[in-house]
């Protein structure tokens, strides 16, 4: 079965923890994790609810392969309505927390209501207990983690926690687990904090045993690992360079959004690239990158474990940052680097540590700071707002200051915590906000990679690369190469990536496996683990069902086809450097094709027929 078939419902208003059987009919239709948890959200909440009110629910959900030996089988997601986008939020994280939840015997935990005062939840196998967390409130993730570890006297406990940014209402606060893995996007941490829930401590010693066909599972997961090991990206590129391998690549194809997406190439890219992370630095002869680290069961191990140069201005008087922590991944490095025009790798790593320490989405943070820099440049923001700090593109000092202020929710940091859309509206220049549905863009310029423009605009959680990563095809040639500057055929490509990703997420696997795995590699692993017949076709259908369910949720939350848009800058201002020079995003051409491929109406609504065909709720 591979599901534990149990969920834990935690009502923070009443302080109760109750066990429920998992709805196995839904598990058959939505698999697990992202899909299954969203099905619960659809069933149990009003999509029009206030995302930061007690009526919103927050689910931590694993997939059927979470906790198994399938490579990357350690993922969990945090699902709720997003305060940043008002759309469905589903933020995926690795580390070890998800697998531990499974070992404790739970497929998911549903949090509802709101506690009267700060609480945290401890789960030790069957035993779930809410505890007062007044002493943890106001503490960073790192501090709270240490305190909880001491209190529970178990070095093996796994902890997911929100930081001060979430407490202060930063709208892109993350849930951080295992000190530096994060369910990062869309403000799921903000929702957790809004419920007065500071942390979840989990320890599972029951293990996971109910694999449907253990022999087949052993064989198929082993075969899957061999495929990953032999693939150049997952076997060599990602372990050695991490996702940062893309920095120079994307810059070269002219799709590296720079200085709030005004440009598409960055002159300092090499200074903040994977290659730069491996370069020994002058002060101590050590490189930024200490080693690569894996999440549970992951045989790729793309994670970066890094240090900051101790002599760097950001940390020279702060020994607490002289440790190793999660280092720069490509999206973070881009948002904090090229998008702000900063090419100081230690400053970027420091801000990345702050994101780990206090739970902020580095994409939204960097992109919002970039927007603020543009506002500063035009004079819409002045030193009066910034405590005298010259918030200029390229200023590492300004970047660090802005990140510190946002982490603590102090002064101008509160404005930055609103995200770029609200910030730019407040200061009179909504056109400076590089967002879709209120969520900031990741690191691929839609003018230089056409498919990503469509993927961003139609992503159910607002602009995101992880909802349909056509970069794989358009840049890396996976599964086959398409021309990034060409918009023809991208509608079908985006749909296929979106559906496949939804299925991969819902299985409990990492989407990075799809650099090497096709659904034909994944489906047999799910099939061996889970009862029933899980073919490639069924997996794709599950993915499509999930995508449409999310779309219908968003429609009820008030989003329409008009929200499938891109900032005017990307539609009207041609790229001014690199191979994409002269190009704009051809969204207007791709979008109708996409709606048609989806079986939606011309204004982007799921048709009754499609609804029926997929057996969607309601």
């Amino acid at each position: 079965m591979s599901w534990t078939k149990k969920l834990l419902r935690v009502n923070l208003s009443s302080g109760t923890c109750t066990e429920e059987p998992l709805n196995m009919q839904w598990a058959n239709d939505y698999l697990g994790q992202r899909g299954l948890a969203t099905r619960y959200i659809v069933e149990e909440t009003d999509p029009a609810c206030d995302p930061l009110g007690p009526d919103n629910k927050l689910i931590m959900a694993t997939g059927p392969l979470t906790g198994t030996m399938a490579s990357t089988g350690g993922r969990y997601s945090v699902i709720c309505k997003s305060p940043l986008t008002n759309a469905i939020a589903c933020s995926n994280s690795g580390g070890f927390f998800g697998a531990e939840l499974k070992f404790a015997g739970w497929d998911m935990v549903i949090f509802e209501g709101r506690a009267a005062s700060p609480m945290y939840l401890s789960i030790e196998n069957e035993k779930a207990t809410l505890h007062a967390a007044d002493d943890l409130w106001g503490k960073s993730v790192w501090e709270a983690d240490g305190m909880l570890r001491t209190k529970h006297q178990d070095p093996q406990a796994r902890i997911a926690c929100v930081g001060r940014s979430a407490e202060q209402g930063c709208l892109y606060a993350a849930v951080v687990n295992d000190l530096h893995r994060a369910a990062g996007r869309s403000g799921v941490g903000t929702v957790m904090a809004s419920k007065n829930l500071k942390a979840v401590v989990v320890r599972g010693t029951l293990g996971l045993g109910n694999i449907d066909n253990p022999e087949a599972f052993a064989a198929t997961t082993k075969a899957g690992k061999a495929v990953l090991a032999e693939n150049a990206v997952t076997g060599q590129g990602l372990p050695a360079y991490g996702t940062q391998v893309l920095m120079n690549v994307i810059n070269e194809v002219g799709a590296l959004p720079t200085r709030n997406m005004r440009e598409t190439t960055f002159e300092g890219a090499a200074n903040v690239s994977a290659e730069a992370m491996a370069e020994p630095r002058k002060s101590d002869g050590k490189p930024n990158l200490t080693t690569n680290g894996a999440c549970y069961a992951c045989t790729i191990a793309c994670g970066r474990i890094s240090t900051i140069d101790r002599t760097h201005f950001s940390v020279k008087d702060k020994p607490e940052y002289w440790i190793n922590s999660g280092g720069l991944e490509y999206e973070a490095a881009w948002a904090l680097g090229p998008d702000t025009g900063v090419d100081d790798i230690d400053a970027l790593t420091y801000v990345n540590f702050l994101c780990n320490e206090d739970g902020m989405d580095p994409i939204s943070l960097g992109s919002t700071i970039a927007a603020a820099m543009e506002l500063f440049e035009t004079g819409a923001i002045t030193t009066a707002q910034t405590d005298g700090v010259e918030l200029k593109f390229g200023s590492a000092e300004a970047l660090c200051w802005a990140a510190e202020a946002t982490a603590k929710g102090e002064g101008f940091g509160r404005d930055l915590g609103m995200g770029s859309k609200r910030l730019c509206e407040k200061y009179g220049h909504p056109e400076f906000s590089m967002t879709v549905k209120g969520q900031e863009f990741p690191a691929y310029d839609p003018r230089g990679i056409q498919g990503m423009g469509l993927a961003y605009s139609t992503s159910n959680r607002g602009a995101c690369h992880l909802r349909g990563y056509t970069v794989a095809s358009e840049v890396l040639g996976i599964p086959e190469k398409t021309d990034p500057l060409e918009s023809d055929g991208k509608a079908g490509l985006v749909k296929a990536f979106q559906d496949a990703t939804a299925a991969v997420d819902s299985a409990g696997l990492c989407v990075f496996t799809t650099f090497a795995w096709t659904m034909d590699d994944i489906a047999p692993q799910v099939d061996a683990a889970c009862a029933g017949d899980w073919s490639t076709e069924r997996m794709m259908e599950v993915g499509e069902r999930i995508w449409n369910m999310e779309r219908e949720y968003n429609a009820k939350a008030g989003l329409t086809g008009a929200d499938d848009n891109l900032p005017a800058r990307l539609l009207n201002e041609p790229a001014n450097s690199g191979p994409a020079t002269g190009r704009v995003s051809e969204l207007a051409k791709m979008l109708p094709e996409y709606y048609e491929a989806r079986g939606w109406t011309a204004d982007g609504s799921v048709t009754a027929e499609t609804h029926q065909r997929l057996g969607l709720p309601g």
């Binding site: 240490g146 570890r149 001491t150 209190k151 529970h152 006297q153 178990d154 070095p155």
Partner: protein, 421 residues
């Protein structure tokens, strides 16, 4: 060369086997006082609880084990020794001549001198014979009083509880297992027992035991209470078996005093195990530890000294204990009570019965105790015995003592790196 070993417990068996390993030609006679194959007292509680048969307590499982090794096991009780003629006299007046002699006679449970202690239904729990009697009398629903909440008392608690008796524990000290617990940990063990439905009276003495009305016995305490009992188990203490050495000239204090080669004050006579008062690793003082690992190590060193001469000195044995009190596991190592001028790191979680206490001298771990810990507990011994400087890990352990395994491994890795360099 004829080596004679008086005793057939762990120290004796360890010594005999090592002697054979070191010198296959040596002639070895092991003198067993009880008329059963060498067995382990430590296993008796598991026999009591019904997990194992009497054979399960045997130190070596193969019936021909000693014969195969060429070790002669003889049943009989030593009554005296004569160092002049180098002979051991047995209770049946026969004698055995030795070239070298190892005294490994262990200890015996004692009974406190109180009125009624010799009544019929008052038993020690020490030998397999005792265990058989207890099994017979501790029937479900019967009232059982356990005098003494030391190691033995605590270990047999579970087996008694499992026999579904009405159990009362009476302990003189203000806490349970005072030889391995401070008041915090001892009290937590008591709370645990009470939680399991066991009545525990600490700081309480049994004044007298009388024949009872209705039940077999009536136990009176210094707090003025009289408790009816069908069975009283006396686990108040043990004494090294040294009486037969009187007049031998061997220096005896709490046990047979031995030097660093396990030698006694009389040439060619050695002692090991629970009878021996050997060097304590932590204090350097000589002390009867009466624990299984020390008995085995004593046996090993004595064997070397007897076969090869006084070549390898013992640095002393780390005193350590592990105890399972009705499912609550406790450990203690070395100077668990701390040392003058040392530092202490302690974590208490009464609700979940988790406890850890580390004692440092400078940046070296010198003692430790724990409750509810089962993983990697051995590293406490490792850190204490290697006296490894902890460096920066001292502060980390002061902040959070649960990071003990990491601290140990960090040291081992550093050692590894040094060796590679």
């Amino acid at each position: 060369m004829h080596h004679v070993i008086i005793g057939a417990g762990p120290a004796a068996v360890s010594a005999a086997e090592h002697m054979k390993k070191l010198d296959a030609r040596s002639e070895i006679t092991m003198l067993a006082a009880e008329n059963v194959p060498p067995y382990s007292r430590m296993a008796i509680p598991y026999f009591l609880v019904g997990n194992i048969t009497p054979e399960g307590t045997y130190l070596r499982k193969n019936a021909d084990h000693f014969e195969n090794l060429g070790i002669n096991v003889r049943h009989g009780r030593a009554s005296s020794i004569d160092p002049q003629s180098k002979s051991v006299k047995l209770a049946d007046d026969s004698t055995i001549a030795y070239d070298k002699l190892l005294v490994a006679t262990g200890a015996t449970a004692t009974k406190p001198p109180i009125p009624g202690i010799d009544l019929d239904n008052v038993h020690n729990c020490w030998s397999l014979a005792d265990a058989h009697k207890i099994i017979e009398k501790a029937t479900p629903g019967s009232n059982v009083i356990l005098m003494g909440a030391g190691f033995i008392g605590c270990i047999i608690l579970e087996s008694l509880a499992a026999r579904k008796v009405n159990l009362t524990v009476i302990e003189m000290e203000n806490r349970m297992v005072s030889r391995m617990t401070n008041s915090v940990m001892g009290t937590m063990i008591k709370d645990w027992c009470v939680d399991k439905g066991i009545r525990v009276l600490t700081s309480t003495k049994v004044d007298r035991i009388d024949p009872g009305q209705g039940s077999a016995l009536s136990v009176s305490t210094n707090t003025g209470e009289s408790i009816a009992a069908d069975l009283v188990i006396c686990a108040t203490g043990v004494r090294s078996n040294t009486a037969f050495l009187e007049g031998s000239g061997i220096n005896i204090d709490m046990g047979v005093v031995v030097g660093d080669y396990m030698e006694t004050s009389v040439t060619d006579i050695y002692a090991a195990g629970d009878v021996a008062q050997g060097k304590d690793f932590s204090t350097g003082d000589y002390y009867v530890q009466a624990i299984q690992p020390t008995a085995v190590e004593h046996g090993k060193i004595a064997a070397q000294s007897m076969v090869n001469g006084h070549v390898t000195a013992s640095p002393g044995n780390v005193n350590m204990n592990v105890l399972d009190t009705v499912g609550l596991i406790s450990t203690s190592f070395g100077m668990w009570m701390g040392v003058d001028g040392g530092d202490e790191s302690e974590l208490v979680d009464k609700e979940n019965y988790q406890y850890i206490n580390l004692q440092f001298k400078d940046d070296v771990l010198v003692g430790a105790s724990s409750l509810g810990m089962t993983q990697h507990v051995g590293v406490m011994r490792g850190l204490i015995q290697t006296a490894s400087p902890l460096g920066e890990w001292k502060d980390k352990l002061m902040a959070n003592p649960t990071r003990l395994s990491e601290a140990y491994l960090a040291g081992a890795q550093a050692q590894d790196q040094k060796n590679s360099a």
